[in-house]
């Protein structure tokens, strides 16, 4: 058999590794800052760019797309070349992928603190960046499929399947969720409104966790864990079942519990059995990982790399058990909107993604630098301080989530809320927030030690940029006698990708078709009217400041919520909400019935200094809203953009929109001045107050003046 000589590209792996470390430190540092800000409002520094509500999306984006994203690419570029026995398809595409991705991250790091955001969680970046993401992702896909196509290894190892599923599905998710209508370079409105927008967003959100944070890392686990342990995976059969059931089930598991009650009995029973079976693929994967170390547990005691991997896989098992539990309605009623969810995602992020990433870095860096790890002792310290950090992070957050939820729901024997003041349920959590920030600090210190250790390792070695390799040339794609359908598929990456895509799409379509039917099925409420120009501008300020990061706009039909906030939210109230602003966390109270609850001056003073109005409040001040003038130049384009996606502004209304805006602003400003606020109608605060006072008032029979056509 003829041997072909070639080389593996280690430089691209090194580049992604460096980016992983740099962005990991940045993303976690921002996370640490907001963990302190949440109980020490003074740390918001009174600046728009350093305020919690703008930094929180920066933290989530940096950790997910910069840290985990670069780690994923690092791991894939190293392993894919070796399991295909081929160099990456194109060095140029590798480079474009790397620099393209870094420029996306950089533009996120600039735009998010500037308040340029769509407000949709983990999809906050504005439309020009969305397009860039799609293009870079296509480059990555071509590079991957090209490599698979010219591979020298006939079979496709299971890790490749996970990589392919990742590439295909993330593309579908990103594109469907990012359909938006631009107003200008920095502003767009989601094509979907209200309930439909929420469904699409959480179809994306759920599956992004599945296909950005889970499947690529499972692929990495199936490569690096056997490598680090020096033995094959425990059960290859199990890994096949793991893969197919996971991609097939995950894609529809997001909102499936939303549909269940519309099911006939037989299907519900089967569905319950099936739901429990869902834990099987996840746990199958975890068990497969852990049992790979069977008979090698003595190595785990010695080797920090294996320790990191064991904790990562265990965290994966815990998070994937907790996930299905959280989707049970009675558990969700308690956990939703609370810190429980924060704990849940951090077990995944710090444990699964974080620890697997560092396990891989400790394994990979010495190899591509042809040296030994600088210090095993430091790696062990990193491991222990990081593990303790996860515990000190997660436990207080579980505690806090359950405490707060129970306080929200607590009634006195007389039948009134025991804690009617929302603030009381928050101040009670401050010690827990403090412990969490200690846990986060410990984890971060561990990361710094890890990065130091890796940098020292890099300095001691020299990069083996072109790693020579040789493998037999691949035999022609001829069918062998007696080969099965799947092996035929396996030899043909395009067919395989196509099959995987079709499977994912079947799941996706069955799930998404009802979503697109939703629009015409939301019962309309005749008193619900489009926002006035001033309210619309105010709403966009609400989005710019990221208010939705701490305040929900979705009152659930529980007595504890209707008592506290008022009438529960109706689907028909959101038909003009592009995007929806339901939020996912209540660090502050729900705002859906905030309109007309307090006088204008209350909001004015509250934005200026929340602690002055609500002593002990954890909300940052938004004093710049009192100083800055509203940008009215965008009003016309905004009305036009919204009309083009179905908001019924009368013809020609955009021409008089600013006139109408000023009329309403004058009224609010006059009321504020009467109460002693030195304000002019052009200030941003006036628009924000107009929006807040409108919230949830339409169904109260509150008269909104009809908008007339302008000829």
């Amino acid at each position: 058999m003829e041997m072909e000589k070639f080389s593996y590209d280690n430089r691209i792996v090194r580049n992604f590794a460096i980016a992983t470390m740099v962005w990991g430190v940045v993303g976690m540092l921002v996370g640490l800052l907001i963990a302190f800000q949440i109980y020490l409002p003074v740390l918001n520094f009174g600046l728009p760019y350093t305020t919690f509500s703008r930094l929180r999306p920066l933290h989530t984006n940096a950790v997910i797309f910069a840290f985990v994203g670069n780690a994923m690419f690092m791991g894939i570029y190293y392993s894919l070349q070796r399991i295909t026995k081929a160099r990456m398809f194109s060095d140029l595409l590798s480079k474009i992928h790397f620099w393209g991705w870094q420029s996306i991250i950089l533009s996120a790091a600039l735009t998010l603190p500037l308040g340029i955001t769509t407000s949709k969680e983990y999809a906050e970046l504005e439309w020009p960046i969305d397009i860039l993401i799609a293009l870079v992702w296509v480059v990555f896909a071509i590079n991957m499929f090209g490599t698979i196509a010219k591979r020298r290894e006939k079979h496709m190892y299971v890790a490749i399947w996970f990589y392919v599923a990742t590439v295909v599905t993330v593309a579908v998710l990103h594109i469907v969720n990012s359909i938006e209508i631009p107003v200008n370079l920095f502003k767009s409105y989601s094509m979907y409104a209200g309930v439909q927008d929420a469904l699409v967003q959480w179809w994306y959100g759920h599956n992004a966790v599945a296909f950005f944070l889970t499947t690529p890392f499972l692929g990495l686990m199936y490569y690096y864990l056997p490598k680090a342990a020096g033995r094959p995976v425990y059960s290859y059969k199990l890994s096949i079942i793991h893969f197919w059931s996971l991609i097939f089930i995950y894609i529809w598991a997001g909102p499936h519990h939303l549909l269940y009650t519309a099911l006939p009995d037989w299907a519900q029973s089967l569905g319950t059995v099936f739901s429990i079976m869902l834990i099987a693929p996840s746990w199958g994967g975890m068990i497969n990982g852990l049992l790979t170390l069977r008979g090698a547990w003595d190595k785990v005691r010695e080797d920090p790399i294996l320790k990191f991997m064991v904790v990562a896989v265990t965290a994966y098992g815990m998070a994937t058990f907790e996930g299905p539990m959280l989707s049970l309605k009675n558990v969700n009623a308690i956990a939703h909107y609370t810190d429980w969810i924060v704990a849940h995602v951090h077990v995944g992020a710090l444990g699964w993604n974080g620890f697997l990433t560092f396990g891989i870095l400790y394994w990979l860096i010495p190899r591509i630098y042809k040296t030994n790890l600088y210090s095993k002792k430091l790696a062990n310290i990193h491991f222990w301080i990081g593990t303790l950090g996860i515990v000190f992070y997660a436990v207080p957050m579980y505690w806090s989530g359950i405490t707060q939820s129970l306080m929200w729901k607590q009634f006195t024997p007389e039948g009134i809320l025991q804690y009617p003041n929302f603030l009381e349920t928050v101040t009670n959590l401050i010690p827990l927030y403090a412990i969490r920030s200690v846990g986060g600090t410990m984890y971060f210190v561990g990361v710094i030690i890890g990065v130091y250790n890796l940098v020292k390792t890099i300095k001691a070695g020299s990069l083996l940029a072109e790693e020579p390799a040789e493998a037999p040339a691949r035999m022609l794609n001829t069918a062998e006698p007696g080969e099965t359908k799947h092996r035929w598929l396996e030899r043909k990456p395009l067919q395989f990708a196509l099959a995987a895509t079709v499977l994912v799409l079947i799941g996706g379509l069955i799930e998404i078709i009802p979503t697109f039917l939703v629009k015409s099925n939301v019962p309309t409420i005749s008193s619900v009217k489009p926002y006035t120009p001033l309210e619309l501008q105010g709403r966009d300020l609400y989005i710019r400041e990221g208010c939705n990061n701490c305040h929900s706009q979705m009152i659930r039909p529980f007595r504890s919520e209707t008592e506290r906030y008022g009438e529960y939210s109706k689907a028909g109230e959101y038909v003009y909400d592009h995007p929806f602003l339901w939020g996912s966390k209540r660090t502050g109270p729900d705002l859906h019935r905030e309109g007309m609850k307090y006088p204008n001056i209350w909001h004015y003073l509250h934005m200026q200094d929340p602690q002055q109005i609500s002593p002990g409040s954890l909300m940052p001040a938004y004093a710049w809203l009192l100083e800055d003038e509203l940008d009215m130049s965008t009003t016309e384009d905004k009305i036009n953009a919204l009309r083009s996606i179905g908001v019924p502004y009368p013809a020609g209304y955009e021409k008089i929109a600013n006139e109408e805006l000023m009329k309403q602003a004058l009224e609010i400003a006059a009321d504020l001045q009467k109460n002693g606020a030195p304000v002019t109608p052009e200030k941003e605060i006036v628009a924000l107050i107009a929006y807040l006072q409108r919230l949830g008032t339409d169904i109260k029979g509150n008269k909104t003046a009809d908008m007339k056509e302008v000829k």
């Binding site: 309930v195 020096g230 199990l238 519309a262 790399i305």
Partner: protein, 67 residues
């Protein structure tokens, strides 16, 4: 809220039913397929990551990468 909205769509029940049947059948199919693979095939597959064809015989890089 989702539930009420989705329930009002006529014929909605068919989607989760179709989904359940397809997924369940597929799941069984995968199990049957994977348990009928030959030993030789499985052993080839599971050893792929352990042979990376690198010409670098880096003896100092023992499994685990640390000494």
């Amino acid at each position: 809220m989702y539930k009420q909205v989705l329930q009002s769509i006529s014929g909605i029940e068919i989607y989760p039913e179709i989904a359940l049947i397809i997924f369940f059948a597929f799941f069984l199919g995968v199990i049957v397929w994977s348990f009928t693979r030959s030993k030789k095939y499985i052993s080839t597959m599971e050893n792929i990551p352990l042979d990376d064809s690198s010409s670098e015989k880096s003896s100092n890089l023992n499994a685990g990468g640390v000494k």
